[in-house]
Amino acid sequence: MSTYRIQGRGRVNHSEPVYFTFDGKTYTGLRGDTVASALLANGVHLMGRSFKYHRPRGAVSAGSDEPNALLGTRRGKGQFEPNTRATLQEVRGNLETTSQNKLPSLKFDIGAINDASYMMFSAGFYYKTFMWPKSFWDKVYEPFIRAAAGLGVAPSEEDPDDYAARYVHIDLLVVGGGVAGIMAALTGARAGAKVVLVDETAEMGGALLSEPAVTIGGMAGWDWLAAALEELESLGVQVMTRTTAIGYYHENMVGLVQRVSDHLDHVPEGAPRERLWRVRAKQVVLAQGALEKPLVFDGNDRPGVMLASAAQTYLNRYGVKVGSRAVVVTTHDSAWYAAFDLAEAGISVAAIADIRPKIDAELVSKARALGIEVLPSHTVITTRGRLRVKSVSVAPVSNGAVGTSRVIPCDVVLMSGGWTPSLHLFSHTQGKLKWDAEAQVYLPDVKTEEVEIAGAGRGLWGYGAALEDGVVAGRTAVKALGLRATARAPGVGVDRPGTGIMVKDLPTNGDPGKARAFVDFQNDVTAKDIRLAVREGMRSIEHVKRYTTNGMATDQGKMSNMNGLMIASDALGKAPPQVGLTTFRPPYTPTTFGALANYVRGHQFEVTRKTAIDSWAEENGAVFEPVSQWRRAWYFPKDGEDMAAAVARECAATRKSVGIFDASTLGKIEVVGPDAVEFMNRTYTNPWTKLAPGRTRYGLLLGEDGYIRDDGVIGRLSQDRFHVTTTTGGAARVLNMMEDYLQTEWPDLKVWLTSTTEQWATVAVNGPNARKVLEPLVEGLDISNEAFPHMSIAECTVAGLPARLFRLSFTGELGFEINVPASKGRVLWEALMKSGAEYDICPYGTETMHVLRAEKGYIIVGQDTDGTVTPGDAGLDWALGKKKPDFIGMRGLKRPDLVASGRRQLVGLLTSDPKVKLEEGAQIVLDPNQPKPMKMVGWVTSSYYSATLGRTIAMALIEGGFDKMNDTVYIPMPDKTITAKITGTVFYDPEGEKVKL
């Protein structure tokens, strides 16, 4: 057992050693230790290097507010986490930990040269140092910043752990398992409420775990704690340790992250690593306590300098002496009590230096009785020691003048700058705080949620006050729940509430310009930085924060915000509330992506919609591509074919004989009712009145702004029934838009809208032999060209299945689209494949579909249009029902900018070199020799190799394109400039004869 562990003391299990590694060396801790307490028990204070200056650092706290002792932790392959707080992570078997920000080793670090260049890295250095010249960014500044900065190393392997999630609806959630929280939970549970109590550490009890001398209800404090927890359990309260309330959201929803297995030697089969809880509580009690503030003086970051309360916790909760000889520096009584506990445990406490001139006489006499030198009206000048503090210099202050300093040898310096009520979660709710000028703290004021704050969170010190306040908060919650509270607070003995003052950076007789007096340990921000920010014009604390990065590290300034505010206030000569307060935002502590993603990862990240024919495509070797949420067959490669070869073959087969394509993902909306035609007239641009039942038409949908939103072929089945098709990605959007107009603008229209996308499987058969393939399967309909011409629709039987048959073409060939009930999609597909065998029917995917349609100049909304393209721009003016009194977008089309000349218009592009394929999205210029930046006149929207034409083809949006036919344009690329000629968009069968076969 190490010399720093006190046998039998604390709440750790002295008979259960736990072995773990730190930087490759094995250490022994005890069950119940945190990594920090176990390392301290082994005399190790040096646990990391700081972010900017790579200064040696040790644990400064014993909780989740820890800014320094951040370690990499690892269990096995992929199970690595950077920036784990050593003060929160429990030791376990198989735990590997490593220190961070070291180059090459923790004890010898060349990055510490940054520390020598301290003057260069002052406030705003990012803004100043790296401003100029611009070319230095890529080669000098960025690599330097990347190498020097950064907190830990991001894991590179896939995380094999499971993460879980649950919802829970309860009456009362209590956040914080200190005495106030326990009392609030008891008050709720005794009244019959459904209660959840959470605490982020491994054990309930909060500060009481560090104060064994307190008595509650006539019992030793720890016995009362055990009894209270037993009662909570018997009342059915869900008591959750290792559970952090990360965020407080609207209407009393609180997010919790429960660390389920990080503390276990072996993870049980199937157990998640963490579990995210979404709690909706009727009432919430926040009993988060208070956080001790460091003091700001030169060398306050040296390993061995820590918060007084942390030393007290290590001693009483973990049985660990943080050193052999301590000096205490403080502005608050609480550090005196910590000093007494240490002295009584046999640690030499050399002196207590207190900035206050007047100190409670009882404290002074007790200190003297314990052999501690008392130094009132004293400030700290500096500390010395390379990897561990070796001494501290203190000096008397009188009327603002700092006297001669003296050096006191020590191996730990325990500091206390008083306490900050922990109101992070309250801040998440936009709850307002008010400045208490007497206590010099922000306290909760105006609430926005059903929430009570209890205990130290609202500035109440001592166990008696906290227990009382827990009951008060619990009673208020219980009353709001309509229940009756009976609980009363137990009496308390050996309570040591204490008082103190808040100070800015401590006065010094040294050169303040050279002082490394840290305010924010995690981001390496000093008092000098904050004063510099004020000198350079920052007036609000929000500006000071961003300029200096104070409070912007992952601890969100739990330790630094108030010190930063006090110093900025002093520099500005204003009271703190006039300088402001920065806002805390979720999460309370850094949260794993695993917990946030929980089940929603891998194949569960998003649904994959599959058509009825998907299984056939998979069995037949299709390569798939995602299209919105659908998985679509992209192409069907035969042995040894790459994509280009497969697509060329599929295109040729379809143009020569017949191709078959799964078009089931097309959006489908059934528009039905006596006013269906009026509704269609008002929504789509086209005229619908004269469209006879049995006929179809290409429909165009605009927004009120006149821009194209969607398109698709629409069939009229009867006077009062339309079968509307939409783009694959636009189906839900179009239905939403239709519903919007129907419900809110034209509620008088008698129309019903039904999404039928997933009710129909749709198969397209295209090519000169399409009719020959289909005809033998059709019953009850003559599909000859005369009886069933292009753009017809009819209900019939196909392959024995009830069908809606369209004659239409998205390829330029004779084409049919057969809709059958979705469950029969594969039956239809296989029947068509069988029937088409003698014509070498060729299944094709979305890529061939794209090429074939581009050869015909058919647009794809969202590819050839981008939300700023009008029908006129796309050459679709013919689709406008100009004689209609109104349709959505009709007025929009007359807007001055939409009728102005020089709009980008959709044209074809043929490259001079027929083998060169343009890149979609490539920018187009008229003069390739103009100076940069060049005037860009448009861009390529679609580009393919056309096997049919034996060359590449493209479409583009070009300013005034319709008037530039046959002009040459230029497409500058990184390696060369491509020339192309502007053409029409129809590259294949411009007369449109083939669809009429």
Binding site: E251, D740, T744, E745
Partner: protein, 107 residues
């Protein structure tokens, strides 16, 4: 996560069941073709963007599918009330004591 009361379903349900649908009480002009450019710009683009009580449309998209109106405070984000499409703007001041932020020149 906010809770929203659907005036059609009569139930208060999580925000994720609903979709926002823009500012409320902006009626499409009876005859758009007769609108001047200025009037059309006003209808098409101009929105009140209030700091305070905002009247807005929501759709119970993963529920009954109905569009409805809501008064929501843009500072607290909270819903003050919801009501059916076509119903007049409620008197928020009488209802909650909060002054409604209505664009100048509007009813």
């Amino acid at each position: 996560m906010l809770l929203i009361h659907c005036p059609y379903c009569g139930e208060t349900l999580p925000e994720t069941e609903f979709a926002y649908a823009g500012e409320a009480h902006i009626a499409r002009p009876e005859n758009p073709s007769e609108q001047t450019d200025a009037e059309w710009v006003e209808y098409l683009f101009m929105r009140s963007n209030v700091k305070g009580v905002h009247f807005e449309r929501w759709r119970h998209i993963h529920g009954c599918g109905r569009f409805f109106n809501a008064a929501r405070h843009t500072v607290t984000d909270k819903f003050l009330t919801t009501y059916k499409a076509g119903e007049p703007r409620p008197d928020i001041e009488a209802l909650t004591g909060i002054k409604a932020g209505v664009k100048e020149g509007e009813k």
